[in-house]
Symmetry: C2
DNA sequence: TGGCGTGATGCTAGCGCTAACATAATGGCT
DNA sequence: AGCCATTATGTTAGCGCTAGCATCACGCCA
């Protein structure tokens, strides 16, 4: 029984045990061990038990790197987001990860940090791991990135937007129409001096265009646009920098809440309903936080986790509709 | 020049081009192509140029799966968090990813969803991809998970806590002492009826123990403890469920802000300083949001991204101190 | 009784790459 | 001229696993 004293996980050379070491110990060929791991039904119960025993004794952990090379299936998905911290994209990653994990897929996560050079670099790094699909927020920033993805010949899912010429599949919503919806609502509410605060990333910019176009179409003067740095909380866009404005659309809820805190300091925030607000504020994202603060935040609600789950579905089912509009909803609360 | 018309990324069989196809086209051996990719300095400039040309023509993307198998280096790190959505752990993932990405490491992300069974499963899945280290929030929930990690013989970094018997390295802070610090502060402020709201995960529970022990040591009666479900916002722990309480420590800022919104509805929230609050509220995490709401949130500040960066350092440098206490800071604002 | 389907297991080759060790070609030195 | 350090390139033998095809034993049927 001395072999029972072998330290688990340690083969003859102190390295991780391999299939064939397990096979030797169980007195079978390595392909049989492979079958026990992947298609146990094909192996006779007694043989299987013997192999399972040997695997446990040795502390065998399959090497998926070798398996992937041999089978040309990595069971992994590359996921690219601008940023994962404090962001609604985390919901999307959670959603797709929850859907893919039970299927045996691993998520390889990369961040572009809204930097085109870094995006191309991580895209190449991702592809060199031969994922079975790429799911990304938005579209590649450069032609090079786009080319890389097209040549990869794997499902590519762009999310959080509805690009006109997607590489492959799309799960998102119409950012332009979101801007339109907010402007429409504010105009109907009687607001006249609109402003937009947010980043100048592609999706934020599309929201701005919709917002501006609708304001102009309604006979209002061109709204002001304050481009915030990613690090800014939104409170930096204090009312002082937007005098005379009576309604603000923030590209995301964090900016909206930050701006509201600026309004509060300026004495321009009421605990009453939207009609009582000197300055209406509408966010985007529908963070739970928005319902907890006072006044509660009106916002464009988007389901980040549904985007993630839909993206997972799109990468799994190569046929069928490749463009899914998850829509958005204008949720009106007390801020505007 | 017909070869220039070859569709990039498509080899003879429509499959991705390999090293040796590039080699053939450049008229060199495949090892030379490998060197151009990995150690370009070792290759003569003209040869290098020829190889680079061939790589571009063919749209060659290195296959790291094969490279990893051959070199026994995957350049990947397994990262396990309870959840990535709406959580402070996202900062940690961002921090470590930012540090590791430039070094060529990929992050394989998995979520346990606070489920021990799922944790063991994803841990095994992670290890089968042969990452060069595992960075996780907390410690394995089961003996089995712990065994798996010990046998992997790679750096293991546990974070967000300071376990007594870590598997390998640790980057975190003392959750028990955080609870103590909050209780001390509340007692000094003259609060007498304390309560704790939050989850019953290991770290939350440690905060509770510190909080309770210090309250008892100060002669107060045992604080109440309300265990919230992960889905709860904290507002469900309305004051109605905690009558007579004059101070609450919430295990995280989200719960704290939710509870404050409950207090507001009950008319128990003031815009003034902590001394004016009928019920003091202290959170943990120092979300930016806490500074934007009114009253501003007092909290235990923890640097999630520093934890991530430190964890990355610990996995890279195998020598030296393996237990890093990043500490925490009680940040006093207006809520308590 | 011979043929053959079925279930269980094994053999062989190779996935695309790299480590480790050759081998060539060059030039400076004694 | 001969030697050897240096630079540039190549050869060989796997890494650990799986696909695809054997092989073999069995038992059932005509």
């Amino acid at each position: 029984m001395s072999s029972d004293l072998t330290e688990p996980g340690t083969g003859p050379s102190g390295a991780a045990p391999t299939l064939s070491e397990v096979a030797k110990r169980a007195g079978v060929s390595s392909i049989t061990v492979s079958r026990v791991v992947r298609m146990p039904d094909l192996v006779a119960p007694e043989t299987r038990a013997r192999v399972e025993r040997a695997m446990r004794d040795l502390g065998y952990v399959p090497n998926l790197v070798a398996g992937a090379l041999a089978s040309a299936r990595t069971n992994s998905v590359g996921v690219l987001v601008p940023t994962i911290a404090n962001s609604i994209f985390a919901d999307t990653v959670q959603g797709l990860s929850d859907k893919l994990e039970p299927l045996g897929f691993s998520v390889i996560l990369a961040q572009s940090r809204y930097d085109a050079v870094r995006e191309d670099r991580v895209l190449a790094a991702l592809l060199s791991r031969r994922p079975e699909a790429i799911i990304m927020v938005g579209s590649p920033a450069t032609e090079e990135g786009s080319r890389l993805l097209r040549n990869a010949r794997i499902p590519i899912v762009e999310t959080w937007d509805l690009p006109a010429n997607p590489i492959d599949a799309v799960a998102g919503f119409d950012n332009y129409q979101a801007g339109v919806a907010v402007a429409k609502h504010l105009v109907a509410q009687g607001r006249r001096q609109l402003a937009f605060i947010g980043g100048d990333d592609p999706r934020g910019t599309r929201r701005w265009f919709g917002f501006r176009d609708e304001a102009l179409a309604s006979g209002l003067s061109e709204p002001r646009r304050l481009i915030l740095d990613r690090k800014d909380s939104g409170s930096v866009a204090a009312h002082a920098r937007l005098p005379d404005v009576d309604a603000v659309f923030a590209a995301n809820d964090a900016h909206a809440i930050g701006f509201m805190s600026g309004l509060r300091k300026a004495g321009l925030l009421r605990d009453g309903p939207a009609s009582a607000q000197p300055v209406a504020v509408i966010g985007l994202g529908d963070l739970e936080m928005g319902q907890l603060i006072s006044p509660t935040l009106s916002t464009i609600s988007v389901h980040g986790d549904a985007i993630g789950r839909t993206a997972a579905t799109l990468m799994l089912e190569r046929g069928g509709e490749r463009r899914i509009d998850l829509g958005f909803e204008l949720v009106l609360r007390d801020s505007g």
